[in-house]
């Protein structure tokens, strides 16, 4: 169990470092296992240094920076054993426009090999969709799919 944990950790670490560089356009991040303790019991530290800033533990970063680092780490786990289908449920909520752009660029690239379904309220995230479904409850309490749009050319607006 210990060996498997450490092997997985190394794979995640490698993925995380390269994903972070893409998501933060420079800067550096790492995950570290507390030394001198059984790895299966140890604290796992997440550190990040957004471009131009100082290296900090994740606890000291801003709300949006923390969210983007965590998203990068989720993808780092994911790429260890990629599945054919990946669903994202509103994880872009705390991100500003620039970070949404970086996040969607990463998803767009990964979507060449993985089918993505993204639940979002964000217009910029909708722009990268190849296909858009609107869900409504015109009749209270009853869900209905109301629209389908193809072509991620920026024409998909929230069809409410």
């Amino acid at each position: 169990a210990r060996t498997q944990f450490l092997e997985t950790f190394d794979a995640v670490q490698q993925n995380f470092r390269s994903i972070f560089e893409r998501l933060f356009e420079g800067g550096y991040a790492d995950i570290r296992i507390e030394e001198g303790v059984d790895p299966l019991e140890a604290h796992i530290e997440i550190v990040a240094r957004p471009r131009g800033k100082r290296l900090s533990r994740i606890e000291l970063l801003s709300g949006g920076e923390r969210a983007l680092v965590a998203i990068g780490l989720l993808f780092a786990f994911y790429l260890v054993k990629p599945s054919p289908f990946c669903l994202l449920d509103e994880i872009d909520a705390p991100l500003d426009d620039m970070n949404i752009g970086r996040f969607t660029a990463l998803v767009k690239e990964l979507s060449e090999r993985t089918q993505f379904a993204i639940i979002t309220h964000n217009k910029r995230t909708m722009e990268i969709a190849d296909c858009l479904y609107g869900i409504t409850m015109q009749e209270p309490g009853v869900s209905k799919v109301v629209s389908v749009r193809f072509g991620g050319d920026g024409n998909g607006g929230e069809p409410e």
């Binding site: 498997q4 944990f5 092997e7 997985t8 950790f9 995640v12 604290h43 796992i44 997440i46 606890e59 923390r66 969210a67 965590a70 998203i71 780490l73 989720l74 786990f77 994911y78 054993k81 599945s83 054919p84 289908f85 990946c86 669903l87 994202l88 449920d89 509103e90 994880i91 909520a93 998803v107 767009k108 979507s111 089918q115 993505f116 379904a117 993204i118 639940i119 979002t120 909708m126 990268i128 969709a129 190849d130 296909c131 858009l132 479904y133 609107g134 869900i135 409504t136 409850m137 009749e139 209270p140 309490g141 009853v142 869900s143 209905k144 799919v145 991620g152 998909g156 069809p159 409410e160």
Partner: protein
């Protein structure tokens, strides 16, 4: 392997039969708060064998069946069908298209079908594990996972790593 189509009927707020066709690439699901988007994600999880009602925001599995509104009475069954393409043969079964269905009745009785042939839950999960993509043929990222990673409770973060291993 691609999720080609999703059909939901009687599951949570999707009382009427609803069909979603998915293609390659990125599909976005949008709509107002409470309209049913997360219910769609839960329908996919449930059809692939999720047994923990709590993960699906229910107390018991029966909570997943449409339980009525002022205008509409509750229904007696929830059904979700997923259709996968299998061109690469990732699914260990000799079909080009694989349809997985799950039904739940108010009595608590469940049915599972692969290509319309009744089977056990175990057969569905074995099929999914057989894709080599881990215990799930899918990954779901949601806010609670982001929070578990960021949590000041080290056990929560470690649990995320252990799940990946």
């Amino acid at each position: 392997m691609e999720l080609k189509r999703l059909v939901i009927s009687g599951f949570k707020s999707f009382v009427d039969r609803t069909e979603l066709s998915l293609g390659t690439g990125v599909t976005a699901l949008v709509g107002p708060n409470g309209c049913g988007k997360t219910n769609v994600a839960e329908a996919i999880r449930w059809a692939l064998g999720e047994q923990n009602a709590r993960i699906l925001r229910g107390e018991r599995m029966e909570d997943l069946i449409f339980n009525g509104t002022r205008e509409r009475p509750p229904v007696g069954m929830a059904e979700v069908t997923l259709t996968f393409t299998n061109e690469q043969g990732l699914l260990p079964i000799d079909f080009e298209e694989v349809e997985i269905s799950r039904r739940l009745y108010r009595s608590g009785e469940s049915e599972y079908l692969i290509n319309r042939s009744p089977c056990r839950l175990r057969d569905v999960t074995d099929l999914i594990v057989g894709t080599g993509a881990g215990p799930h043929a899918y990954a779901i990222f949601e806010q609670r996972m982001v929070e578990a990673l960021l949590s000041s409770d080290p056990a929560q973060r470690r649990a995320m790593f252990e799940q990946a291993a």
